[in-house]
Symmetry: D2
Subunit: 366 residues, 4 copies
Amino acid sequence: MSGNTLGKLFAVTNFGESHGPAIGCVIDGCPPGMALAETDIQPELNRRRPGTSSFVTQRQEDDRVEILSGVYQGRTTGAPIALLIRNTDQRSKDYGDIAQSFRPGHADYTYWRKYGLRDPRGGGRSSARLTAPTVAAGAVARKWLREQYGTALRACVTQIGELSLGFESWEHVSCNPFFAPLADVSAIEHYLAGLRGAGDSCGARLRAVAERVPAGLGEPIYDRLDADIAHALMGLNAVKGVEIGDGFTSAAHPGSKHGDELRPTPDGGVAFASNHDGGVLGGISTGQDIRVSVALKPTSSILIPRQTVDVHGQAVEIVTKGRHDPCVGLRAAPIVEALLALVIMDHVLRQRAQCGQVPGSVPAWE
Amino acid sequence: MSGNTLGKLFAVTNFGESHGPAIGCVIDGCPPGMALAETDIQPELNRRRPGTSSFVTQRQEDDRVEILSGVYQGRTTGAPIALLIRNTDQRSKDYGDIAQSFRPGHADYTYWRKYGLRDPRGGGRSSARLTAPTVAAGAVARKWLREQYGTALRACVTQIGELSLGFESWEHVSCNPFFAPLADVSAIEHYLAGLRGAGDSCGARLRAVAERVPAGLGEPIYDRLDADIAHALMGLNAVKGVEIGDGFTSAAHPGSKHGDELRPTPDGGVAFASNHDGGVLGGISTGQDIRVSVALKPTSSILIPRQTVDVHGQAVEIVTKGRHDPCVGLRAAPIVEALLALVIMDHVLRQRAQCGQVPGSVPAWE
Amino acid sequence: MSGNTLGKLFAVTNFGESHGPAIGCVIDGCPPGMALAETDIQPELNRRRPGTSSFVTQRQEDDRVEILSGVYQGRTTGAPIALLIRNTDQRSKDYGDIAQSFRPGHADYTYWRKYGLRDPRGGGRSSARLTAPTVAAGAVARKWLREQYGTALRACVTQIGELSLGFESWEHVSCNPFFAPLADVSAIEHYLAGLRGAGDSCGARLRAVAERVPAGLGEPIYDRLDADIAHALMGLNAVKGVEIGDGFTSAAHPGSKHGDELRPTPDGGVAFASNHDGGVLGGISTGQDIRVSVALKPTSSILIPRQTVDVHGQAVEIVTKGRHDPCVGLRAAPIVEALLALVIMDHVLRQRAQCGQVPGSVPAWE
Amino acid sequence: MSGNTLGKLFAVTNFGESHGPAIGCVIDGCPPGMALAETDIQPELNRRRPGTSSFVTQRQEDDRVEILSGVYQGRTTGAPIALLIRNTDQRSKDYGDIAQSFRPGHADYTYWRKYGLRDPRGGGRSSARLTAPTVAAGAVARKWLREQYGTALRACVTQIGELSLGFESWEHVSCNPFFAPLADVSAIEHYLAGLRGAGDSCGARLRAVAERVPAGLGEPIYDRLDADIAHALMGLNAVKGVEIGDGFTSAAHPGSKHGDELRPTPDGGVAFASNHDGGVLGGISTGQDIRVSVALKPTSSILIPRQTVDVHGQAVEIVTKGRHDPCVGLRAAPIVEALLALVIMDHVLRQRAQCGQVPGSVPAWE
């Protein structure tokens, strides 16, 4: 119940620092009986992993995951699943010179105020490296959701700095190192090359969708599905904004256009004529696609000198060398998908708990 | 730990339905020894209350709060504080005709899918009326924060439908019924009159700020301060987007502009030269103002006929009569302030728990 | 999630003080669709109520419960169920003289140390009166368990002070005011009359059983079913010991006698040949009866003078007048049943959440 | 928040199985700034470790603990502390023959009913081996408590099977392999030799004490300090009974003897004249010693044949070979101490959170 756990029933407790011995997580509450091996998790980690293009950090981490518990003879037992990733490429010397100063845009100052001390090696616990355990846990959740409901999770980058990408097709996303929904990414390469030449960085915007999510997920007040999605996504490093459905453009909508109308389907069911609300009404899933988007701020580690203060209160100039992504948003897509999966998984279990007996409220389990 | 509780240590459990006997909440974890009476809470409820202009619902509710427990001789005892608000103006007949249909944009369909049944009277638990207990609890939190730190919370409306308001001054906000930061609100009145004439509704955008928030609040991963703020605000009825600091515009920022530089202050402290990150770095408060903004969708209850489906799966046309706000965002400011206060309060107690011994991490208590 | 909530998924938050305006609770997480009215709860409150014999406090409280929320047209909706009981017979003058001293055996001193102040009226929040909301919530849980599984909960008194009662039959328990499993209670009356004549009090021992509890309830480590039962029962006023199954006598058992053997049943199932372990193995229910016993200390409020200290640190003598039970254990049976019901209910929902798909792990729901 | 976590603010999440790759835990919420190294934890693990006498299992496990996170330059950072213990001596063949049957007194049947499958290797997650991470986490808590308050935790065995040991002195406890408070343990050796010769096992009883615990710890209702102690201790493998203070003998006490009187101390403080209530009044610590006792049932794995059922529903006879303790209680003392430390630690942080500003409610921190 302390702060480093995500989820109430599918509860993921994250541990580790960028340059400590290891990072990882413990998943408590996974349903028993699901086939699970490291090979189900590793591909998601590989998608998130640095080093996949010249525009992301060249730190070389295998991110090799080991399942320490909760699986017997290839199946989940219902016991906690501990996932371990050893850190192997920790060049702490890269970071030694910044231990005494507070880098602008980083968590250096706030950790120091909060804890009275901080682990400066690679940003310690505030490093984006700590999203790896989240992605690993998300791989477990999305496998279960896929097997039970066919739930699919996708994310792509729709804006890089001042470059708005547009959206061509989901099928392009896995064919370029930018998670861009475009066939031709040369404009992105050009833009990033310019940024790198200037020693600068930029932000990004992503969109994500969860398809085939059961209706009925979410609590009426406070722990709404959209609220928990916002919590998970705003909790991701560098995220400064979260939207559900039409998001901020909703403010300008007239009610006569915004509210999604319902229609009978030929098989006696119900369909929506539109999805302005992004698959959530009153905090509860409608059965439509869950649509979200997020904005990430620019990478704070840049080669351009900036003004700051050191731990002795003296004004200093700082340049953050090291191996950094010029745009952290370029690696966020698998993480956003994982976070969505974790929130949906948790709410499926919550819904089973309270409303398991409601006919059709949760599709039949096998 | 179920879904209708906000906060871990300053934990507010909300109960009630729009047209049931009563609404209210229980606050568990309030520090002892604070002076508290109904008169500390009632003014905040009055700010949220309907009936304050011709552009909000004319439902007449006193929203008279009663403290049932947790206070002795005018001081909090540390025991749970139960707050009760009786419903008095329940005209259920206004809603009788919609019990059999799913209103577009409402939670009718999702509640029915989740629970297999629903309370249709005034929207039941999905009614915005259920924000009153949140406001009441928020009044307790903000009193404590104000007394301990001088923390101040403010919110205002910055956009109404397609009308962007701009920002003149906080001092105007309490002088008009729209929580608008403007001296002259005639444009708003004109806009809303047109909307009402058309039987339509619109969304809104608000900004809020929390001043004098201690540095060091928030957990490093998952339960970050910004994540919990996003959870609280996205959990508010009709909210579809949440931003911290520069929010979505951060995506277009270069790192060389975005990261807030630090400067020494004459008294040996530290100050920031800007606040693009909205007072949160690495999920932890910096001591600067917490800056957020939210978007609310348009009121779903409108007089313009809409297509939907009834509980028997038949296509029907629906018009939502009754007493509705044409723009729910016009009453959201006190609620946004209350939610911010509740999240900050919870994190102050969490910070005391773990880091109470860190020098200066939490200002001295009296 | 603060301290005054019992249960994680069927979460009961208790509020109130003995002589405040009201006591009550909020139940969050109750499954929807169950028929529920005040008349389902009131009988359990009446069983717990004082004034039913000359040997319990003569305070006259109706303990009239009102359902404030979560029920529509006689059925639970899945929304929080708030239960309110107004205090009506608060003779605060009875307690005025003890506000300045710490009564031996009472919580006066510890509340004062914890909170820096305390509500002395009738013991404030430490009064046994606060078990009434627990009993009310338990009535909701036991109704659901009875309807789903036929679960039955019973408790009786087996020892009063130095008087060991033996056990004749459950059927006697409701036929005397002592919850004694005896046809003839004259020995009890004689014993209590002697105690009352001396102005003294005594402790008690109770046994309880839960029948027809599904197998599979409980988490493997920490939140075991027996651990959560022990938490609930040790949390009851005056309880100083809790046993599951054979309890403390287990220490002297040889393994060759203690371990409950299994046998095939004619219908292909499994039966146990004995129940030394009280229906719990490895922290998880076996499907056998859950057997527990508890010990309560004597009532601390007695007419015999005792030595103590006042809030100014001066030695004083104190006599606790007022309306007190000479043996608080005599009213504990309905409360112990309620606590057992609440723990089992919570674990049924937890089991549904994680293992809902395991064949037979949770009996079919209707 | 799922079931394998102990504590709300000092939250220990346990993972692993007896014969899986590793066991361990994650501690979330540890205060920053405390000196911590593996050498602070290893001695406690060594005390719990098997193989220390001929009367405990001869399984050879180093139980070598590795700190994976949360410590930087020898000090806790406030980030989660992950502790890892690799399993090295897993002779699974010892257990292969019991995978198809339900051993009496074991969790085999209940795990199978709960999860639909189970890990039979060495008892899987139900093995007493999983107490090692609890002991490791407890070592962290007790170090912090010792440094802040001088809190000391001690436990000893007071009964082994039918052999009541009496109590001579705490100083003997560490001088014999039975945690017995006796100078001469020959009677114990004789008793256990007889038991081993018969292929049988026995239970045990332990007492424990926590000295120098701050007053004011514990919540008034439900999460009382004694309730949480009972939860922790009843959650320990084989425990069937828990007592606080005088425990079950309290039932026979008259109120005129039981209630602990208070006396002024020469320095203006308050002292208690006795400690029948074991240091807890109204669920809150008094500042006296916390006194508890527990009963453990006999080891279920014995060489004497017993009747049971296999997974196909057939009656079978079973003998549990392997390396087992004839009396599991003989290794429980360090675990009981660890559990007490964890509960007290959690409540110290909870008390800081809510009542940090109450003068004297929590002693000054350095």
